[in-house]
């Protein structure tokens, strides 16, 4: 399966690996935004997840502990955002930006001694029988556990948001906070939980970068993945399954440009490396041209029970 000098059997798994961090972060942020909160600190929570996951995994040599601690670290960091925006009524945009800056600074600080070390490798989890299918097997059914987990998370989130009472309450809070409050739902408490879920997912996504995609720690290694996750949520019109599609499209572009760089296409490297960001802009334009805006009604609006 070689197309234009690029082997598809290698391309598809690489695509899934490169999409998983943004997928995890974006599905978390989708829930946060569904609850009516805009957390621009995704990048900061991801990089904290990346560094904490890396440190724990290197010290214990068990990657799963790394992922677990990364999710906890991301959630803990998001609590700062939650307290500031939900209790102290601070501006969500400014607080999110601050969270990103704190995350970048803190991660560089605690990650310094770990630069240049290789992380323990994640074991591939071959699905019995399915992974033996020629071509399709190595493409889709022999990945590490986190890749499957990320797809599972999308499925569970889609189910909860669309089919359960919890999802209905979450959407009510995000669409019309005053009405939800009048009905007796605890707006602030629900948002607090949503923000922490977003933080945990971002942390998990960050750890996937430092433990699987790159397997090492370098300062600022998320390189805008958190921002791309934010763009994906808009791209997906806040719908979980579309987040998956968006993330894989984006992963495809990233991997394709790396492959094109490797086989030495006559396009300058810089143009190829900026292409994921340019494509994100084009997609944002396309969405507003052809899609319809379905942003949660109370997105980024402050709420206090007294108002």
């Amino acid at each position: 399966m070689v197309v234009f000098g690029i082997d598809l059997v290698l391309l598809i798994p690489a695509l899934m690996i490169s999409a998983t961090p943004v997928l995890l972060a974006a599905i978390g942020e989708a829930i946060v935004e569904k609850s009516g909160v805009l957390n621009l600190g995704v990048e900061g929570m991801m990089i904290i997840g990346a560094v904490i996951g890396f440190i724990i995994a290197v010290n214990t040599q068990i990657p799963i502990y790394g992922f677990l601690c990364a999710a906890i670290a991301g959630a803990l960091l998001s609590i700062i955002f939650a307290v500031l925006t939900q209790f102290m009524m601070s501006n969500q945009v400014a607080t999110g930006l601050g969270l990103t800056m704190v995350g970048l600074g803190l991660s560089a600080l605690i990650g310094k001694p770990y630069e240049g070390i290789k992380s323990p490798t994640l074991t591939k989890f071959e699905i019995p029988f399915l992974s033996d299918i020629p071509i399709l097997g190595p493409m889709f059914f022999s990945h590490d556990a986190i890749v499957y987990l990320s797809i599972l998370v999308v499925a569970v989130v889609a189910l909860i948001v669309n089919k359960t009472r919890w999802g209905l309450v979450l959407r009510a809070v995000g669409e019309n906070q005053e009405a939800a409050h009048a009905l007796g739902y605890k707006v602030v408490r629900i948002r607090f939980i949503a923000i922490m879920f977003g933080g945990a997912m971002a942390g998990l996504g960050g750890a996937y970068i430092s433990l699987a995609r790159v397997p090492q720690w370098t300062e600022g290694m998320t390189a805008g993945a958190g921002w791309i996750a934010l763009a994906l949520v808009v791209f997906a019109s806040w719908k979980p399954w579309r987040v998956l599609i968006g993330a894989y499209l984006f992963g495809g572009i990233t991997v394709l440009q790396l492959n094109l760089q490797a086989i030495g296409v006559a396009i300058p490297v810089e143009i190829l490396s900026m292409s994921p960001y340019l494509v994100t802009i084009v997609v944002l334009v396309g969405i507003s041209l052809f899609g319809h805006h379905t942003a949660p009604g109370s997105l980024a609006r402050p709420f206090h029970a007294s108002q």
């Binding site: 700062i80 500031l84 009524m89 945009v93 995350g103 970048l104 600074g105 944002l284 334009v285």
Partner: protein
């Protein structure tokens, strides 16, 4: 136990003194640090003033770093195309080109927002990564010093008097960028105090619906805010590359575009406040450098300190917006 705690306090105090006090008042650092205060505060203030105009209107340009890079590239290209001619018109032309570069880069998210309703936060930020790649490309290709023996980076403007953004008073750190920053503070102050445009911007941010019904065109506000902040960031980039940085290199930009966001908020979006916050932030940069040298603190700890500063400020917002009231039991 108590002694140990006292030691901790003493060392914390000495670190704070080293970062906030010694750069200005300790004789061994002051000769280097005092001029640096203006050198670092200049671009930060210039960018932050531009950003604050948009922030007041609820237009979030967080891609100032990209506009800063593009301004530097545009301005430097003008100078390098005239090299080695000497003329007093070269530097003004560079400033104009720098402003234009930043303006164009700021206009992209503005026009996309006006015509396609895209989110300016995301677009302006994505353009930072695009700008960084353009910078990497030109510093290794188009603008590379032909006499540089293959090293990346442009000619050094220190060796090109017409293009060099020299200190106006020796050893003061005062260069044209700092002057422009001060002028921008004054202009912004009058924009919000006296000018109708400033009033319109404030209304658009505080009550978008009221602004709309009052006949204030939201598209014009968006273009004005993003254009102006891009223009100022572009100029800041040019002054930096022609002066303190000296040349276009892959990493000549040092994150001022992002620091300026913090400064804009620390200054409470008020021009005078931004002036003071910019000086404070410059001090943390210099103090941070000294702390790196003397205490072996990693450079990132200063970034952390700056972020935390913003958090504490945001946390106190509640006290300015709400009144404390103790319930009688």
């Amino acid at each position: 136990m108590f002694g140990l705690l006292l030691d901790e306090f003493a060392s914390a105090f000495s670190a704070i003194k080293l970062i906030f006090w010694d750069p200005l008042f300790d004789e061994s650092f002051a000769s280097y640090a005092r001029p640096q205060l203006l050198v670092k505060a200049g671009p930060i203030i210039l960018i932050a003033v531009g950003l604050s105009i948009g922030f007041k209107a609820g237009i979030w340009n967080i891609g100032a770093e990209g506009q800063y890079i593009l301004g530097a590239i545009f301005g430097a290209s003008v100078a390098l195309s005239f090299y080695p001619q000497e003329s007093i018109f070269i530097f003004p032309a560079m400033v104009l080109a720098g402003a234009l570069g930043g303006f164009i880069w700021g206009l992209i998210p503005a026009l996309l927002k006006v015509y396609f309703k895209t989110n300016e936060i995301l677009v302006s930020l994505m353009l930072v990564y695009v700008a960084e790649n353009i910078l990497a490309s030109v510093s290794q290709g188009l603008l590379r010093n032909p006499d540089g023996m293959g090293f990346p980076g442009s000619r050094n403007f220190k060796d090109y008097p017409s293009a060099f953004n020299e200190e106006i008073i020796t050893n003061s750190g005062m260069h044209w960028g700092v002057i422009t920053a001060f002028i921008s503070v004054i202009l912004a102050y009058f924009l919000f105090l006296k000018h109708q445009k400033g009033y319109e911007i404030r209304i658009s941010g505080e009550a978008p619906k009221a602004a709309y019904f009052a006949g204030i065109n939201p598209s014009k506000t968006i273009i004005f805010c993003l254009g102006t902040s891009g223009l100022l960031a572009g100029m800041a980039g040019l002054f930096e590359v022609a002066g303190p940085a000296g040349q276009i290199t892959i990493s000549f930009n040092s994150g001022y575009g992002f620091t300026a966001i913090i400064v804009a908020f620390l200054g409470r979006l008020n021009p005078i406040g931004i002036l003071l916050a910019g000086l404070l932030m410059a001090l943390t940069y210099i103090g941070g450098e000294i702390a790196q040298l003397m205490l072996g603190l990693p450079g990132a700890s200063i970034q952390l300190l700056q972020g935390m500063l913003l958090f504490f400020l945001l946390a106190t917002d509640i006290f300015t917006n709400y009144r404390l009231k103790f319930r009688s039991l």
